[in-house]
């Protein structure tokens, strides 16, 4: 009996061999944390061994020190908050305006005829190209930065929402008509929800643009914000501080995108 069990052991595997994943389950956080650790370690190693000069690429240890330094001085938190406020304000203004306009251009043929040609010509202009012009209008200040960011956010949000509203499937509208819907119902209870997935796609593109334009606006003529931190550190040859700014932008961008996609899944679970 005992020997039978013993001899069966090594062969326990017709099951085992068929398994595609390793029998030991890795915790889901292990791979991401592991890869980040390895990246940082390789980076540190490449610099400390002298493969790359520390002046061009400050090692993680130096970046961390610079970050703590800025944190203690109180400027880092301030820069993050100011950048965040700029981006958020402009984002909300730009996308709210875009959705409002899109509801009209998408639903009314007259409004579309009036506004669409202008919007379609303005839309392909890269928002970056507006930076010098915005300075002419607003001078260098908060208004100018908000303008450029909001303008950049406006177009993708408008276009997507517009297409969503205008493209409301006719059958959705027809069913509603046989169910007693009036014009208000057709707009708010059919076109609006039907356009929501499109608006969300536009809002997501808007986030990426808001980040891009935030930094572009802050690099030229700002004394606060993450873009300004990078620009000033550049003048002072402080590559370590520049990297602090870059990494923070990366972390914040990834976090915002993650939160947005989770929120989107709750907002439009059917798409």
């Amino acid at each position: 009996m005992a020997s039978a069990v013993a001899s069966a052991r090594p062969q326990a595997g017709p099951d085992e061999r068929r398994r595609l994943t390793p029998p030991v389950r890795l915790p889901s956080w292990l791979l991401p944390i592991g890869s980040l650790t390895v990246t940082v370690a390789v980076w540190e190693l490449v610099v400390t061994t002298g493969l790359v000069s520390a002046r061009d690429a400050p090692p993680p240890s130096a970046v961390l020190a610079a970050g703590l330094d800025l944190l203690q001085a109180g400027t880092l938190v301030n820069d993050v908050l100011i950048s965040g406020r700029r981006a958020l304000t402009a984002y909300v203004v730009g996308s709210a305006l875009a959705i409002a306009v899109a509801l009209f251009t998408g639903r009314s043929r007259v409004v579309r005829g009036l506004l669409e040609p202008t919007l379609q010509i303005l839309r392909p202009i890269p928002a970056l190209a507006w930076v010098p012009f915005s300075i002419l209008w607003f001078g260098i200040g908060e208004g100018q930065k908000l303008f450029v960011i909001a303008l950049g956010v406006f177009f993708p949000v408008w276009l997507n929402t517009h297409l969503g509203v205008a493209g409301t499937p006719l059958r959705y509208l027809n069913v509603a008509r046989t169910l007693g819907a009036n014009r208000r119902d057709l707009f708010f209870r059919v076109s609006l929800p039907a356009a929501l997935p499109f608006a969300v796609a536009g809002l997501r593109q808007g986030i990426a643009l808001a980040f891009l334009l935030l930094v572009a606006a802050e690099l030229t003529g700002a004394s606060t914000g993450l873009g300004a931190l990078i620009a000033q550190s550049h003048l002072l040859f402080r590559a370590d501080r520049m990297v602090v700014g870059l990494i923070l932008l990366g972390l914040i961008g990834a976090a915002v995108d993650f939160l947005f996609s989770r929120a989107a899944r709750r907002l439009v679970p059917w798409s």
Binding site: P169, N174, A176, T178, L179, A181, R189, P193
Partner: protein, 285 residues
């Protein structure tokens, strides 16, 4: 286009009307000399000509014909989505002028709202009918129950099977209590088994609630299960070839084919439809 619509030969062209002895009431739905035409670059083309139909309250009329014969166009004119080029549609003696909640419609592609769950889909048409949320909720519940979907209220549209989605569409339409129910090949996309279930569910609802229905189909068996009367349509331009009372009385199940004479009736309808792939008149003996 040659208008070869001189006196079509239906032996009883107004046979969709039930025995006058049964009801002296005016038909709930009347279609009078309906013509639907559309303008191409060069000329006006008739899609449907000379269609007249009467449907009494509580009865089901099947519009049966091959695809492209204009039967869906007739239904859309009744719904108010198409404006007659000539003739008129009356519901309860009132002229139809655009879509309205007195004519509920179940579309072939259903058009359930994916942003709502089942409960909210069925509630959609109740907004202007029932003042309070609680009443709307209650009405929707009872119709969800009648189409046997209780327990699935919070399911999303994309979680439903074809038959379940069909039931939701029917419940959404009926919950709003239209006087006439229009159905545009609603079961065409279902598998055979589900289709039979749906036909019998519909037959039961029609009987239980005295529904007045115009049902479009290209399936002869379906027409003979669902319809109290059948109007056979032919194409180019679309018109009624023949109308007759369903010789098989209610209650009809899918087993109606077992009744004596079923084969001959089906064959005769088949000839009517088949003959109209050409422009020839059928059955001219």
């Amino acid at each position: 286009m040659s208008r070869n619509t001189t006196a079509p030969p239906p032996p009883r062209s107004d046979a969709a009307t039930p025995d006058q002895s049964v009801s002296t009431e005016a038909p709930l739905l009347q279609v009078r000399d309906l013509r639907l035409s559309f303008q191409t670059r060069e000329r006006q083309v008739d899609a449907v000509t000379d269609v007249s139909l009467d449907v009494q309250r509580g009865r089901t009329l099947c519009l049966l014909g091959p695809s492209g014969c204009g039967k869906s166009s007739v239904l859309n004119a009744i719904a108010g989505f198409l404006t007659p080029s000539q003739g008129e549609v009356l519901v309860a003696s009132r002229l139809v002028d655009g879509p309205g909640p007195d004519r509920g419609m179940v579309f072939q592609d259903l058009a359930l709202y994916p942003w709502h769950n089942i409960q909210r889909n069925v509630e959609f048409g109740l907004r202007h009918l029932l003042p309070t949320r609680a009443e709307r909720h209650e009405r929707a519940r009872s119709w969800i129950d009648r189409v046997r979907l209780t327990g699935h209220e919070s399911k999303r549209v994309n979680e439903l099977s074809g038959g379940m989605a069909q039931r939701v569409a029917i419940a959404r339409c009926l919950a709003a209590e239209p006087s006439v129910v229009l159905m545009d090949e609603p079961f065409a996309a279902l598998d055979a088994h589900t289709r039979i279930n749906m036909q019998e569910l519909l037959a039961q609802l029609v009987a239980d609630y005295g529904m007045t229905v115009v049902f479009v189909t290209h399936d002869i068996d379906e027409a003979l299960i669902v319809g109290d009367a059948v109007a056979v349509m032919g194409g180019a331009p679309g018109r009624i070839v023949e109308s007759f009372e369903n010789p098989f009385a209610r209650p009809r199940s899918h087993l109606v084919y077992r009744q004596p004479g079923y084969g001959e009736v089906k064959a005769r309808i088949f000839d009517l439809i088949g003959g109209h792939h050409d422009t020839d008149r059928p059955n001219q003996e």
